[in-house]
Amino acid sequence: MSSVKEQLIENLIEEDKVSQNKVTIVGTGAVGMACAICILLKDLADELALIDVVADKLKGETMDLQHGSLFFNTPKIISGKDYSVSANSRLVIITAGARQQEGESRLNLVQRNVDIMKSAIPAIVQNSPDCKMLIVSNPVDILTYVVWKLSGLPATRVIGSGCNLDSARFRYLIGQKLGVHPSSCHGWIIGEHGDSSVPLWSGVNVAGVSLKSLDPKLGTDSDKDSWKNIHKEVVGSAYEIIKLKGYTSWGIGLSVTDLVKSILKNLRRVHPVSTMVKGSYGIKEEIFLSIPCVLGQNGVSDVVKVNLNSEEEALFKKSASTLWNIQKDLKF
């Protein structure tokens, strides 16, 4: 007896099962799921694969997303413990790893997260040798270096989410101070994603008007308007949110999705993301730090050469040596 499906539908050609814009997210914790929902709602992928070691949580989250299928345009959502579900990905987002506890610094998480990467990365590369990798797990700059080393991929295809979120928080807070929407407030934070990030005050502007040209003291200690506090608040943000709600998710999810958009759609927009900076700003070690990068379908295709003043360059170099001090002791 023929099924309802056979009676209803006349099949004409074999279904093409190869996706063109597959994204895999490793880790279905708060950050991974925030990335997932944002990517789905922004219509960026035609296939989404989720991977995690906790089987129940993974399945539950996948089903919950699938049940929302009616409301978005990503026809295939799959998941599994095995990395084979990630095959043929254009982009793999790594959010897995231990998370900061209240009061804990990102650097403390390093060795725990290196061990997680050791098991994950070779399998990912095996299944999607042409993919770009986007690292979100903290401490992101060090882990981007670790992933690069473990993957054997060219450094241009291994990108750390870096200061993309710091810069977003920076722009949001500038927007609050001025009563202007953040997307019209421009400002860049580079260097380490974390306590020693570097705010580039000379670049902060609205409609091309440099705020520093209006107040040369902007961002210094003698600035009566205390703009420097905005950077302080950015650095303190994650700790504050973790203290209040236990973790951060939305800010990082939205900022990662913005990077995904540039990569998958080959937009060549500029983002402050973590990339290999050996050779720039007098840095001699293989360090990943955030600088403005052009992001497209091949990953980081170009970087913007920002002129740093002596103070900024010193802070940048300080970030580099802080990170190198930890990296040099890592056991792979």
Binding site: I37, M63, D64, L65, S183, E240
Partner: protein
């Protein structure tokens, strides 16, 4: 920008403070305010006459307060409330979002986290507070808060606890947004929609229960899986009570207008060799299954509520299976709320679709009505 500086100096010399020139006598507060007064998007604090960067940069043209046309308030910042929030934000549905919760720490943390995504989304103003005044002038208020069922607790007891919570909630909401529409998501949704209606004294068109909107979405997803077709093209309705006793209306299930029942007369019955009945079974089991695996459900309910929100705020007049007052239909005489296909627009539920139900489907709705009324009649308001 020498001309702005020139104007500043001229005004100071003249000794006048022009009301609409922001700089003189006013400076923005440096910290993002967590709770804002009515209509005030950017809090202003009187400060010294120091020329700030803001003054140097911008010339203010109006001090008129913005009128919020599509303000949405979400009561409850748990997983469901936040999933509603992110879905609404990513769909760009509101120009102001207010969040209310009793847990101030979580409320503040969630608000900050959303705000930090501002550069990536046309983020509207987001305000939050324990106090309902932040919800003032909302077009739509979404209620996700409420007590969760405790182990071994009877449904009646759970509902009575929620009546107490809703009492305070409703009086505050109504006070600050007397003309809003309410979407009730908290469970048991059909009973709590009735409770919200009673306590708010709103006309019934403005009190909407999320009801079977999600059940129907899951139904369509699972049908789509069986047929390898996108769920958007699979049509089917689950009506009645949200939960274990929901009613899949098999006669209406169709693709491109072709009713599946025409192709398989036994569809949905026990005799059906393809056991399509299991699709409905899976829908009913869904929530329990997901809760067992990840602890709660969030994404699908958030997306489905955002879908309802879109219809209401944009006055789309699309049809959704939501919980509404059903007394007088299908032989039901009790004052209960059940899901039927409703037209959703700017005034809430403006019309409902009179679905022809099979006698046994109608009987199930009547049974649900009786069960709900048995609990509702014991409630003390």
């Amino acid at each position: 920008m020498s001309w702005t500086v020139g104007i500043l100096r001229a005004s100071q010399r003249a000794g006048t403070v022009r009301a609409n020139f922001l700089c003189l006598g006013m400076a923005p507060s440096p910290r993002p305010p967590a709770a804002l007064p009515l209509g005030g998007a950017w809090a202003m604090a009187p400060a010294s006459k120091m020329a700030t960067v803001k003054c140097e940069l911008m010339k203010n043209c109006t001090s008129e307060e913005p009128v919020r046309n599509s303000k949405i308030s979400i009561v409850g910042t748990g997983s469901v409330g936040m999933a509603c929030a992110i879905s609404i934000l990513l769909k760009g549905l509101s120009d102001e979002l207010a969040l209310v919760d009793v847990d101030e720490g979580r409320l503040k943390g969630e608000t900050m986290d959303l705000q930090h995504g501002s550069p990536f989304v046309k983020m509207p103003n987001i305000v939050s507070s324990r106090d309902y005044f932040v919800t003032a002038n909302s077009s739509l208020v979404i209620i996700t808060a409420g007590a969760r069922q405790e182990k071994g607790e009877t449904r009646l007891n759970l509902v009575q606890r929620n009546v107490a919570i809703f009492k305070l909630m409703m009086s505050s909401i109504v006070q600050y947004s007397p003309r809003c529409k309410l979407i009730v998501v908290s469970n048991p949704v059909d009973i709590l929609t009735y409770v919200a209606w009673k306590l708010s004294a709103f006309p019934q068109n403005r009190v909407i229960g999320s009801g079977c909107n999600l059940d129907t979405a899951r139904f369509r997803f699972l049908i789509g899986q069986r047929l390898s077709i996108h769920s958007e093209s699979c049509h089917g309705w689950i009506l009645g009570e949200h939960g274990d006793s929901s009613v899949p209306v098999w006669s209406g299930v169709n693709i491109a207008g072709v009713p599946l029942k025409e192709l398989n007369l036994d569809i949905g019955t026990d005799k059906d060799p393809e056991q399509w009945k299991n699709v409905h079974k899976d829908v009913v089991a869904s929530a329990y299954e997901i809760i067992k695996m990840k602890g709660y459900t969030s994404w699908a309910i958030g997306l489905s509520v955002a879908d309802l929100t879109e219809s209401i705020l944009k006055n789309l007049r699309r049809v959704h299976p939501v919980s509404t007052r059903i007394k007088g239909l299908y032989g039901i005489n009790e004052d209960v709320f059940l899901s039927v296909p409703c037209i959703l627009g700017e005034s809430g539920i403006t019309d409902l679709i009179k679905v022809k139900l099979a006698p046994e489907e109608e009987a199930r709705l009547q049974k649900s009505a009786k069960t709900l009324w048995d609990i509702q009649k014991e409630l003390k308001f």
